[in-house]
Each structure stands twice: as C-alpha cells, then as structure tokens.
Amino acid sequence: MKKLIALVLALVLCLSCFAFTASAEVADVKLGVILLHDENSTYDLNFINGVNEAVAALGLTEDQVIMKRNIPESNECYDAALDLVDEGCTLIFANSFGHETYLLQAAKECPEVQFCHATGTMAHTEKLDNFHNAFAAIYEGRYLAGIAAGMKLNEIKANGQLKGEKPLMGYVGAFTYAEVISGYTSFYLGAKSVCPDVQMKVMFTGSWYDEMEEKNAAQALIDAGCDLISQHADSMGAPTACENAGIPNVSYNGSTVASCPNTFIVSSRINWAPYFQYIVNQAAAGEKIDTDWTGTIASGSVVLTDVNEAAAAAGTVEAIADAKAKLEKAEIKVFDTATEGFITVGGEALTTYTADVDTDLNFTPDTEAVADGYFHESEYRSAPYFDVKIDGIELLNSAF
C-alpha cells in the first residue's frame, strides 16, 4: 500500500512538473534581468534569489533567463536593455531606482517588449502600455519586525538593563528618501505598538551600500545610548557592529544569523519571486501587467525570516503571528492616524498630508494620503511615499 501511494505521488509530481514545463506559452517567454550589483550586495542577492525561485516554480529552462549584473544607473542600463531585446527577451526587469529613466527610454523604443521596474515611480504618469512599476508593502514587514524590537526592549527594561531612562532604538538609513522614511517609521510604530515609551534616533549614511559608513553609523548610535539597532542599507556594516558590541539587531533583506548568532533577532525582506512569477505568467498569457503592482503579506511578497530565539524576547514569534493575522484582515493599520497619540507631528494628530505621488521636476506634493483614519501607503502607486517626520524619531543628520 505504502509503495502504491509513493508511486502515485511520484507520478503526480512528475505530471505536475510536466504540466508546468509543457505549457507552451510560458516556454515562449524569455526574461532579462538587469541588476545594479551582484551577489555581494544583499539587495541584489535578494532579487537573484527571487528570480531563481520563480524559475524553479514555473519550470523555466536555463536559457529562458538572462541576468546582467553590475549595470550602473546610466546609459549602460539602456544599452543593456536593448542588448537583452537583441537576445530575444520579451520581458525585461531592472532592479534599481536609478535605472528607471534609462529603462523608460528603452521601453519607448521597443513597444513589443514588456519592461518592469522595481522601486520606480514613473509608470503611472508615463502611461506606456509596456512599462510597469512594482514594489511591496514592506512597511508591513517592518512593522512586524518592529514588534520583535519592542518586545526585546520590554525585556531589557524588565531586567533593568536599559542604557537610559527610556527605551531607545537606533536606525541606520541610507538617504532621507520616502522609501527609507516609510521604512523606519513603520519599524518605529511596530515597536511602539508593544512598547509605548520607545524613542528612536536615525543616522543616514548617504549611500545604499557602504559597509564602513554603515558600521560607523551603527557604532555611533550604540555610543549614543541605543539599546537596539536596525537598518535600511544593504551591507553587513550595521549587523557586524551590533554583534561586536553585543547590541540586539533587527536586520533587513535577509537573515544575518550566520554572522551574528548572538544579536540577530529577525529580518524583514521583500520576496520578489511572486512578482517574477506574476509577470512571466501575464506575459505568457498575453495579459496586461499591472502598471503599479504592490506585493503584500498575503501574496507572499513581504516576509519575515525565522526569529532567532537566542536573541529575541520570549513570546516574539506569537506576537508577530498575531499582528500578521490582524494586518492581513485589515484589523490594524500600520500608519494608523485614528488611535490617539500613536502618530503625532509636533504633538498634533496627523489628519491631513499631501504626498508627492506623481514625480515631477520640482517634486511638488500632489495627493492627499490621509483618509479613513490611516495614511494610505503604497495605494496610489507601488513605491512608498510616506515621508512624514513624526514625533519620537530624532534625525541625527538629515543632509542626505
């Protein structure tokens, strides 16, 4: 009997594999991927893993995917895109914000090819049929990671080991850009939801990838009395500084537990595999790809790594699971402006905010984003536009 079941299961597996690879349309798609750096950057590695996962799930062959690594944010990106078109790619993806204007140029020249761009902001105003933006509601992931941070702070506080009077977090950011501001604010709010008196200091490095600067910034925050550090930058700088100093760290882009076994708590990241699967399927079926696609927790695009029990506070896993379920059911909102004292600006409640959703030369704010008791992040376009400076968060340097 067992043998029979095993045989049937094996057959089903084979057939289902067959069903995927035999799908003629998917076999016609050729995906070209343009990457800013290579595996050495956690940001790009996250995309490469996403591509590989999607390729395996869809049963694509080796020659259906071409990756171009180390393509700078310049005319090189345009050259690379057109070279991919020459190689027969029908679907081209670029992963860096600065690629956008050059990819757009290629999209205008090749209307028969679909172009997808992660983190960009221009698809909804350019209105091309073959140019699309994508991002994920990573602020929800950071909120959940923030809960882990808040619980750790509560634990430190209960043990009487706080460095100062109030729990203080440090955050290493890249630029004072909406993506980063949205990220650290949602992280802060996650922590605040379980640890109401938490405060945070933010330090910017002015670079998306600068190991030395990130390490120095983390160290400076630790020296300034922070009890816990998180970061939005792509190197191992901040996690390493935390491990050396024995300060708990909430990471980004993926688990750093291998290098930081004593201090790594949890990490949020965007999983790009669902998006790659989505665009390949749409292209295969000849269906339109969303102009702005926002991945969510529900679509599997926003994920958290395993919690490192050695460093996290007790009950963290349950608290995250609980909040995650509530977020999915929309019972709670990250940028909740209705709950009194949760989000304040200059002591006042946030009731209205005009965000810069449509990119123009002067970056003028154009869209009212606060309604129904919360800030509508990533709804009017996929890339984040929450750039409100709220109370409780102090920017140590803001010239970036």
Binding site: H37, D38, E39, N40, E62, V65, I66, M67, K68, R69, N70, P72, E73, S74, N75, D79, L82, D83, D86, F97, G98, E100, T101, Y102, Q105, F175, T176, Y177, A178, E179, V180, I181, G206, D356, T359, N362, F363, D387, A399, F400
Partner: protein, 375 residues
C-alpha cells in the same frame, strides 16, 4: 671541505640582464604569447570556478567565444564596443601628456567626473531656458573648465611647493566624488539622490547616437599624436620627462611646462566628461566615470604613451571587459568572476613587459654539461 674545493665559481641557474634593444616583432611575439598564456590560465581558473562549465566541459568553446561575442556579434554590440573604447581612449589620451612628463597624474577619474558634473549642472539650471545649441556650447565650456581646474590645482601645488602629485591627484578624486554627492542632495529634494536622465542637453546624433563620440575621439587621437611628437610643446614635455635638470639647462621653464601640461590633461578629461554627460548619460552620479580614470592609466602605459598604439590597447581592454561581462551573463556567475578573468589577463600582459625589457640568461655551464652528457 672537499666540497668547497670543487666549487670554483658560484653561478645561479639563470640571471636577468637588461636588453639593449629588442626587435619590434620579438616584442609583439612576447606580448602575444603572454595573452595566449593568460587566456589558457583563465580557462583553467574558469573551469574550476564556473559550475556550468565543469558540469559541461564542451562549453569551454563558448567561454572563449564570449570574448568575441561580448563585442562583435551584433551591430549594437559593435557600436557599444566602439563607444566604450572611445571614452576609454579619450581619458587615456588625457593622462598621457602628464605621464610623458613623468608627472604621475592618477586623478583622471576625478577630473572627468568634474567635467560630467560641470556640464550636467549647466543642463540642470539652464535646460529649457536657452536654445539647445547654446546650452550644448555652455555645457561644453563648463565641462572643460571644471576638468581643467581639477587638473590645475595639483599642478600649481607641484610647481610652487613641489607637493607629491600622486597623492594629491588621488585625493582630488575623492573630493570630486563628494562634491557630486553634495549636488545630488541639493538637486533632488525627494532625497533619493538619483537625478535621472535630464530632458535637455543631448548631443545631436547623425548616423548613430555614438558616432559623434567616436569621431571626436579619433580626431583627438591624431591631434594629440601630432602635438606630442611634432610640436615644440610636445618636445618640451619629453625633455622634462627625461630630466628636469637637462630641461632647466636648455632654458625650458619647467614650472610652466608642468602647469601647461596638466591644463591640457584636465581639459581633455573635461572633454571626456562632456562626452559622457551630454553624449550618453544626460545625468551624473558618483559612478559616472566608473573607474575608467584608473583603467586609462594602464591603457596609456601599455601603449608606451603613444596615442596611436593606445587605439590598440584601449580596444583590447574594452574587448576584455565586454567579453568578461558576457561570460558572467552566459554562465550565470557572480559579477566578481569577470574581474578575476580580466585581472589574470592583464597580469600576463603587464608581466610580459618585463620579458621585453629584460632577458633571462640561463647558466651556460648547464648547457655544456648537458651537451657533454649527450656525448
């Protein structure tokens, strides 16, 4: 004790002697042999490192074919190759006058970046307010001025206070990078520090977008060749390079020559910056020059500071780079592998210069002993 008696003269297995002269064909044969040897070593390294290759050894042909495929298998690739080569050639030409004078200018990266910044600054502030032709002229002037100033500062310090030009020009690269970062923060209030492609200030194109760049650099190559080999100023540069004392004795104002030559270098870097800014990117980032200012040093050096030979070396380096990138793409390997491959080949090419300048002489006793042994 008895051993000591036997050994009369200690002669090493081989020794090195400087070659008085080498026939050009011999020199080129050595270089060619070095490249072939480099490629073989690359193949072995790649075989070990690339998973897809040791799973499927037949693809070693593909591996070598990539070097050609990367640059020549489609019209677009050929244009791109010529464009890459032209930009690299332009920066290499820029460093050459100073090098011939033995002024070790390693600041071409920063000088070119300042050129890009200068011309993009003009496009950013004046784009749309002045006619296109005027905008392009102003951008051109700004690029040249910025490049020249960045070259002149270390030259003035060298001429006045005899500062170390290598360190000075190197540091100026970092300063240039930070100045670009600074302006990007001011120009992009959203905080992303990404300017993106500007709508104004594009170099007009006829035939192909890259044709203007290629022609400009070709003309510049001829001009610089004539300037260095057949003009009085070019001769002065060579004399200062040979010996400052001789130059002073023959009445050459060394300080003036240093300043003038660095001005030329800076201007040419500015021009390269203009070609990048107005001809290609219409934008500036801290990576706009992307290390070509350093690669140019090697291009110039390998060509023995001869502008015409530089056409060969810049073509070779461009081809290697595109080929290596093609390998990364075709074999789906990390972007670090191309650097390893280019590094190995360059190591062999640079190493071969040693065997062109020196000859290896093996111990004669061995030969006679071997002969006797045969008898």
């Amino acid at each position: 004790m008895s051993e000591r008696k036997n050994i009369t003269v200690h002669e090493p297995l081989f020794h090195l002697a400087k070659r008085a002269q080498i026939q050009p064909w011999k020199a080129w044969a050595i270089r060619l042999a070095a490249i072939v040897l480099g490629l073989v070593v690359c193949g072995i390294v790649a075989f070990i490192l690339i998973e897809r290759l040791h799973q499927n050894p037949d693809r070693i042909d593909d591996f070598y074919y990539s070097f050609i495929k990367g640059s020549f298998t489609s019209n677009r690739k050929i244009w791109k190759f010529l464009k890459n080569m032209a930009i690299l050639q332009c920066i290499s030409l820029a460093v050459t006058p100073a090098f011939r004078m033995r002024f070790w200018n390693i600041g071409a990266e920063g000088q070119t970046l300042m050129g890009v910044l200068g011309c993009i600054a003009v496009a950013f502030y004046l784009g749309g307010t002045v006619p296109d032709w005027l905008l392009l002229v102003l951008m051109f002037i700004a690029a040249l001025v910025c490049g020249a100033v960045w070259g002149l500062i270390p030259a003035l310090f060298k001429a006045k206070w005899n500062t170390n030009e290598t360190l000075f020009t190197l540091m100026m690269n970092y300063v240039a990078t930070f100045i670009v970062s600074y302006f990007l923060v001011i120009w992009v209030p959203s905080g992303s520090s990404t300017l993106g492609k500007l709508k104004y200030g594009k170099l007009p194109s006829f035939g192909h977008d890259y044709l203007v760049i290629i022609l400009v650099v070709l003309l510049l190559t001829i001009f610089l060749y004539v300037y260095l080999k057949h003009s009085k100023q070019g001769y002065e540069i060579s004399v200062v390079g040979e010996s400052v004392r001789t130059a002073q004795y023959s009445g050459i104002n060394v300080k003036n020559v240093i300043i003038r030559t660095m001005l030329v270098s800076g201007l040419l870097c500015g021009l390269a910056g203009y070609l990048i800014g107005a001809g290609l990117d219409q934008s500036v980032t801290t990576e706009s020059v992307g290390g070509q200012g350093f690669t140019a040093i090697m291009v110039s050096w390998l060509a023995n500071f001869n502008p015409l030979v530089m056409l060969i070396t810049s073509a070779l380096i461009s081809m290697l780079n595109s080929g290596a990138a093609q390998i990364s793409q075709d074999f789906n390997v990390s972007g670090a592998l191309p650097d390893v491959i280019v590094g190995i080949i360059l190591f062999f090419i640079i190493g071969s210069e040693f065997f062109i300048n020196y000859q290896v002489i093996f111990r004669k006793a061995d030969r006679t002993a071997a002969k006797e042994g045969v008898k």
